[in-house]
Amino acid sequence: MKEELCSHNWEMINVQQGYIVTENCFRCRKTNTYFSVGEWPPLEEYREGEHFWNIMEVAQSIRFNLKCKVCGEVVQFSELAGLMMCTGCDEKCKVDSLMKELEKSRTWVYVAFGFFPVDERKQLSPEKITILEEYFNQRRKSSISRIKIVSSDMIDDIAVCFAEMIRDVGMLSLSPPENE
């Protein structure tokens, strides 16, 4: 009851630094992504049952929860792999159409991605996407622009999507400094 009446005011809590790891099995060609919290990212291939996983990309990122400063409700976002701003690369894509429609009113469209494989991992619910959108719009409350967050389900063909997720790629070196 308390939650229903609350006009939530979200804050980011439990921010955890880590790595979004993308790996590919050379036997079945499946792509797998996950969040790793270790001090160092995994870099070597390994076997898991019938899969032989090869690391394709490691990017630094964060994992977080949102907490309502008013009612104390906490929403976990462990299913969120990242956000991507739509830049309009495929006229047939529904996200592209939405972006072009909302661009006139300075509303920018971001796509929320879960982890791969999509059919094997729990994905963000529409309710959580709405909360995420509320949170980022609350952080830019006095701005003349707004943001809209949609699910990656709206993208028809991810293979032709040019945009990139907000994460830190290329910030890691495989070679340690010489003096260490």
């Binding site: 990122s61 701003m85 300075r106 971001y110 830019r140 701005s143 622009s145 990139e164 907000i166």
Partner: protein, 109 residues
């Protein structure tokens, strides 16, 4: 403090279209995930990153302006994207550390 006043006082190089805005403070990081978690709307963001994703991160929080430090060249693709999404990109030959000092001198923290 207004953005145009800061641009003038610090002789910043303008790389995109500029709208005057109120600046609320300064955020320094080269990590987009830091911006996503900790930057505040209206901050000036000092970074050496110049790739297109800088525009996505700045837009998410509504950063007042991105200042690319160390005189790093910003790719044309990043500037085009910034103009389309009304993200202001400026440049300075100073390091982030030196520029932060100058921003404090003009009254920003």
């Amino acid at each position: 403090m207004k953005l145009k006043e800061i641009i003038e006082k610090l002789s910043l190089v303008i790389l995109t279209n500029v709208e005057d805005k109120e600046v609320s403070g300064v955020f320094i990081s080269d990590m987009l995930s830091d911006v996503m978690s900790s930057a505040e709307m209206g901050n000036i963001w000092l970074t050496v990153q110049t790739h297109k994703n800088v525009v996505s991160a700045a837009n998410l929080i509504d950063i007042a302006a991105v200042i690319v430090t160390n005189g790093k060249e910003v790719p044309e693709g990043t500037i085009e994207l910034a103009n389309r999404f009304h993200v202001i990109i400026l440049s300075s030959p100073l390091s982030s550390f030196q520029l932060a000092g100058k921003l404090v001198e003009v009254g920003l923290e």
